[in-house]
Assembly symmetry: C2
Homo-oligomer: 350 residues x 2
């Protein structure tokens, strides 16, 4: 019998963290009688006087959100990380290792209207979001080793507020994923004298089977090692290292690319597609300011949980928590579906 990736269970290596993913294509056929997600409603009002992210509303801590007109950034009222915090005592016991964690957490509203999302915003409005990301990054990266810009979208992703927004958590240290990536990208560069993701994009463009969107500045691909069903990477084609080295044109093309990708996502199951997404680029802060970033390539990662419909998601549980990541359709099958679905016209506009 000949091996066929779309039929036979196999494993694939994620070269960015060194971990294998179990791919089980034939499992997509199993019947589902488990939890159904509530599809995100499309009937939100533009303005909700009880939503603290809306312009003019008073937050639980008594501070009033201003009457903002484009984006609005504020410090999280319940931050996971704070700037000033005592350092834990040193321990020489390898089983009880504790380390300091300083940082800060901000919330950034994308738009004053609660009933918009990135795919239903205009490209010009998305450029404003990108510009605000960059101005936040400029400020925070001067101080912190890692600035994690991320968006949790949809109740299925634990997003506690439907208003279009993201978060920015800055850390005095490199968190696990960026640390692993830093090591792997550096090792690849040492051997190949090329950024790993530049080589990767080049080979994916030759093969085409996992490409979702390509334009002059950006490529969207379902990575060969994708874990979540419709996971994608949005990768710079211009050897960008960090989000703040994008030119005006690259930013405009990024807005178009993000709009197209998220429109495809929404159209796939005709719902406001939930996901967590975020940006990875070269580390920052005083510690990394003078280190080489030659091995890095700026990219965003989208982790959407939906598997088969607006109401059936993939759960990373049991085997996944105890043993390893596992997926039910191949990255090639996911890429084909995302390629075929309309990325220009959002289903709500049809």
């Amino acid at each position: 019998m000949q091996f066929v990736a779309s039929e036979h269970p196999h494993r694939r290596l994620n070269p960015l963290n060194g971990q294998w993913v179990l791919v089980c294509p034939h499992r997509t056929q199993r019947p589902w009688s488990g939890q159904q997600e509530k599809a995100q409603k499309n009937d939100l009002p533009e303005f909700d006087p009880t939503n603290p992210l809306c312009p003019g509303v008073t937050r639980p801590n008594g501070i009033q959100t201003p009457e903002y007109e484009s984006t609005y950034v504020f410090e999280n009222d319940f931050p996971a990380l704070v700037e000033v915090v005592p350092v834990p005592p040193n321990s020489d016991d390898p089983l009880f290792q504790i380390a300091p964690a300083r940082g800060n957490c901000r919330v950034m509203c994308f738009h004053p209207k609660s009933n918009l999302t990135l795919p239903t915003m205009s490209a010009a409005e998305i450029v404003v979001v990108i510009d605000e990301w960059i101005s936040q990054f400029n400020e925070l990266s001067a101080k912190y080793a890692w600035v994690q810009i991320f968006e949790n979208k949809g109740a299925a992703m634990g997003c506690s507020n439907p208003h279009p927004h993201c978060q920015i958590w800055s850390c005095s240290f490199l968190p696990t994923e960026p640390q692993l990536k830093q090591e792997r990208l550096r090792a690849y560069y040492a051997t190949n004298e090329r950024p790993m993701l530049a080589d990767y994009v080049e080979r994916e463009l030759q093969r085409q089977e996992r490409i979702v969107i390509e334009n002059r500045d950006w490529v969207v691909v379902v990575p060969f090692w994708a874990t979540w069903p419709f996971e994608t990477m949005l990768i710079s084609r211009n050897n960008n290292k960090r989000i703040n080295d994008l030119t005006a044109e690259q930013r405009y093309n990024l807005a178009l690319t993000m709009k197209e990708l998220t429109t495809k996502y929404d159209n796939l199951f005709q719902c406001s597609f939930p996901y967590s997404m975020g940006w990875h680029g070269a580390p920052t802060g005083p510690e990394h300011a003078h280190a080489s970033s030659a091995h890095w390539t700026l990219h965003a990662i989208y982790y959407p949980p939906l598997l088969r419909s607006a109401s059936v998601r993939k759960f990373m549980v049991g085997f996944e928590l105890l043993a390893m990541a596992q997926r039910d359709l191949t990255p090639e099958q996911a890429a084909q579906k995302l390629r075929e679905v309309d990325g220009k016209c959002h289903y709500l506009e049809k």
Copy 2:
């Protein structure tokens, strides 16, 4: 200012996988307006003629589930892993690494009645479950490098069937988590000439602050590096290496310990507490049969998602997916709550 673990954000190292966890104790206070879990109903019938796991019911593939009276094991109708599968071609490209995956997937019903769960079963009935785990393990471990016994419980954990059951996935290879653990335990043993978890249990018993249950054969502890809010490890105190080297007394005490722990879980938020749990022990199969397992200690891990009530869970999203694991209350706080809650009488019996 003095560092206080229950107040100040910090990081802790998981010595079993080498990854840090961000601990943010002050975040438990934030208001929650996001997704509410449906608490598992307690009104299931003993027998549901539409549930394929019930005795006598015909499964979608036409096979009839027998009229079983204790446990019942069958091959998963939609297995992630299969025994005979072609080997993928070798690739010398580090960015497109693919590897074989053989194995099998079984489903094991704990009891004929749909409306029971481990905490509401008798200790004698739980011993029957443990004995069946062992007989399955005996058979499967002869052939496979890793036999993952795991239970997904509750809709919040993606469990698609409320009938009390677990799964057993066997693999021709060591999955990510066991592989990391194998390396770390081995390195610790090489330095200390003691199994890491034996040392760990000893020190936790001295400190007491993270201990939930202890008896002659077993300890339940919220690990110093716990990620999920009420995560626990149930660890053998007898230098057991694998589940099939337990004596009859150790098995009986295990049943009592599992019943006590899951009763505490259910009583904590007065609901059928969702979790994923599973067993880790020394690797198996022809490959590992003659290797030393001196560095291993048999243990189960419980990963429950609930955070603050039956309806508010922890989401591992955004920052957690892109950067690192993060928790909102300290392991010591979780252990204290679990210690204080009744483990003898289930809230449904009160």
